[in-house]
Symmetry: C2
Subunit: 526 residues, 2 copies
């Protein structure tokens, strides 16, 4: 049962007067439940609870945190069809997608549970004393990673489960030992409340301190801004637009005590179709890219929005086939009238720019809120002179930039902003195009050979992030267990009594974790 | 021979009209050489060279970078007494200190040389493909750390060698593969130029690209601000005041593309004298702290500027002994009239605050620019109500805050800003004061048991950094080889052809480095 209230720790609360409803884009009508926006007092209560909870939560063992994370996964599964149904009602996405996103969410929670149960993630480094050293004896120094404190997480519109309430940011922060306050995404506040219920229940079952998790509703920006400005909040996770992410980054960096904001924002994910690939595999890649561009109505941050190639017969064939293939694909519902509204506006802006040609625009009959796919082309010279064409169009859109030669292609790459991904499609020609590879490398977090950028594997080696504006801090990934590193800082103990050290740093290594001891990677006791 | 010119890569240049001289605080007179501030054009030239050099430098092997760093150390040693003499003339510090700081600088360069020669620091993580996986085959993903690009380093006034031109920030950035542009500290521009000469010569000898290092003079803030705003600059290292560091942080975070600023700034380094330590070891600690507070005229960022304790006979004895001992110590020359001027101003501001008592103020005859040590006391209630008393007084100064009880002591700790270090002096009483330990832990980067905070070991386990305003990013250390992590970001290769991967990620592991392969830490081939 969805109440429309906020979770202030484990208490449902709705003392405010501002209310809103979520929207069913398939039916093009509002959903029933009325959500009440969190008040300034409720925000204060949630942060104060988090601050208190942190004192306990930061000292809780990895095994206990692991149980908590696994129990969240259990409780999410226990929500059953209730969760899947509200997910579909609030996003217009299919039940199949709901199930696959739930699977990803569960997998992420289990991955972090495994990570903290194992314990080696704290990067324990021990340099033992050397009392004989002259002129000054060497002290004993031991360091490890510690949680930063209460974290605020802003859910993503396009991932109501995997990058929202108990998604990657939250799972990573809880695993690190940081209490989390979620600013629930207003487009899927009901999905958010159900997941919040699961987290709260898991916290109670596994004995976590009250305040380790809160979930606040809001339809505007005030709740988020108040949270980011709060002195007890120590970091922020955000997935969404460049405009939203940058605004939070500015707010956080102007605080008396600046705090890090990990905003995973826009990207056009450039794809470089090299000449031999264009001449030999034009049809193959066109078919693959027709699918990738339209997957989930193009509502992925890794959607390939820009394809760069040198003019040739192969490229012409690629564009023609891409048009033929993409037009066969049936449009699907987009997340919300605001999302499709922005998509239509952005499409229209692009089409009005000098030199932009529309290759294909799906013109079949579609239901309200369904996103019609569109492919455009433009010459490199026009692209270079107009940065409006460099901006992301969130939805089933891609633009082919036609270059006169490889040198111009390289110039285009060098003028791009930072990107989450960059892809090179090539046939035995990569070695002759290393300058292109190097130029692309400088711009991206992940570089792909002969594939599509959509599909972000959750694993150790993943980098989901990239130079600004792909993300606000290219030094961290938002996907995979290494994303835990966003919520921690190192602390060093000098000559600390062994029995009072954290278990991770004690001589006897009671947790049996891997540590660097005087430069050696080992599980040995000291 | 010191020319007073800028190094734009390997070319000496002085096209500007703004000049300045350095100052000999021992003789209280200007030194002879005239330095010419870098012009906007020279800044642009240095950055452009760095941008071009990065294309080559980022691909240079760890072994080659190692040779470069070791050669810098050789060339610094080859400067011989010329370097030591100008160091003393520009800082007022002793030749003994010059030698020990040079030793530290050389050690740092060798440490980074060893790190990059070994190569495992790139944190290679490999998740191999699984083509059988359903519903989607798993791609091959391999990630490693890559340099960010050109870095700007601002030298520290108090470490003309170890944290300036070829100090920790520069050594770490070069080791990472980032070209460095140093904004030379105006107080020791001659020392800076000699060291720059050594770096440039080492770059030439070891075949590094021109532009891998530049050294720019300036007496004001314009050169630094222009550098930080330049789009080709990708990160900033700074050691100095909170005001200076915050200003650069603000400039960097307001850029169209924000960049990280690693500013290591102020700290009062609180020392908690617990009751049993006060009653049993008052004299011992007072003697140690008299030395620590006056070491190098208190001109260390880890200087213990705040001592917190509960009122007792032991504390009275501690304060009395501290006063007796510290007055015996002969004042030494401070770095510059500006530094001693700020010290006198800050002392005077503190002394005018309500409830502050001066216990001892060295009143013997001293030469011009010599810093007279001073100890003050204040009651906790006054300290809590007046944040002016929480600010650093850079120089031989400390304040003892007298608390009514342990609870009040804990409140005082909880009200402190972020700190580089926190120290606890205790006798078998730590276990009964875990709340104090926890409160202190939240505030500091390094927590010390029964010692003094001065003395920062250069080793793997060191954390020199801490919550704001100790540093702008508590997640990184400024000392020790792990400081290389400030200048890198991860990049992930997806399904990349083995022969075109960086050596660190190739199947055969040609560098023999440690890697995480499908979760296993290993040097094995794949």
């Amino acid at each position: 049962m969805i109440t429309g209230k906020n979770y202030i720790g484990n208490v449902l609360s709705a003392t405010g007067n501002t209310t809103f409803k979520t929207f069913n884009p398939q039916k093009n009508q509002e959903n029933e439940v009325v959500f009440t926006e969190a008040t300034t007092i409720e925000i204060e209560q949630a942060v104060e609870l988090a601050r208190e909870a942190f004192k306990i939560f930061k000292t809780i063992s990895g095994v206990a945190k692991s149980k908590f994370l696994n129990e969240i996964a259990n409780q999410i599964l226990a929500l059953g069809d209730n969760l899947l149904n509200i997910y579909c009602l609030e996003s217009g996405l299919s039940k199949e997608r709901a199930i696959s996103e739930r699977t990803r969410t569960i997998f992420q929670l289990h991955s972090f549970a495994d990570l903290v149960k194992d314990g080696s993630w704290v990067e324990a480094v021990i340099d033992t004393a050397n009392l004989e050293r002259t002129p000054v004896p060497k002290v004993d120094l031991r360091k490890m990673l510690m949680p930063l404190g209460p974290i605020v997480v802003f859910g993503a519109s396009n991932f109501p489960l995997a990058y929202s309430t108990a998604g990657g940011d939250t799972a990573a922060a809880l695993a690190a030992g940081c209490p989390v306050i979620v600013k629930s995404h207003p487009m899927h506040a009901g999905t958010g409340e159900l997941v919040a219920y699961a987290v709260i229940k898991a916290a109670e079952i596994t004995g976590m301190p009250n305040g380790v998790f809160s979930n606040l509703n809001s339809s505007g920006i005030e709740v988020g801004v108040t949270l980011v400005k709060h002195p007890a909040v120590k970091a922020v996770g955000f997935t969404g637009s460049v405009r939203g992410g940058r605004s939070l980054y500015n707010t956080a960096s102007q605080r008396p005590e600046p705090i890090p904001v990990f905003a995973e924002m826009g990207s056009v994910n450039p794809v470089i179709l090299l000449p031999n690939a264009a001449s030999k595999k034009a049809v193959f890649w066109a078919k693959n890219y027709a699918k990738s561009i339209t997957q989930g109505a193009g509502q992925f941050c890794t959607n390939p929005g820009l394809i760069l190639a040198v003019k040739s017969e192969g490229l012409t064939s690629f564009i023609e086939t891409l048009a033929e293939e993409i037009i066969k694909i049936k449009p699907v519902c987009m997340l919300h009238p605001n999302i499709i509204g922005a998509f239509e506006d952005n499409k229209s802006t692009i089409q009005q720019q000098k030199g932009v040609k529309m290759v294909v625009d799906y013109n079949g009959e579609v239901s309200k809120n369904y996103g019609r796919q569109i492919i455009t082309t433009v010459d490199a010279v026009r692209f270079l002179e107009n940065t409006t064409l460099h901006q992301e169009v969130f939805g089933p859109f891609s633009m082919v930039v036609q270059c006169e030669n490889v040198e111009q292609l390289q110039v285009v790459i060098s003028k791009l902003e930072g990107q989450l991904t960059g892809t090179i499609l090539a046939e035995d020609e990569l070695e002759n195009n290393l300058e292109i590879v190097n130029a692309l490398q400088n711009k991206v977090g992940r570089i792909i050979f002969n594939g599509v950028p959509t599909g972000v594997e959750v694993c150790d080696a993943m980098v989901h992030g990239g130079p600004y504006p792909a993300s606000t801090d290219s030094r961290f990934t938002a996907v995979g267990v290494n994303s835990i590193k966003r919520w921690v800082r190192p602390i060093c103990y000098q000559n600390w009594p062994d029995k009072l050290l954290p278990n991770e740093l004690k001589n006897e290594n009671p947790l049996g974790i891997y540590r660097s001891v005087n430069g050696k990677h080992t599980v040995d006791v000291i």
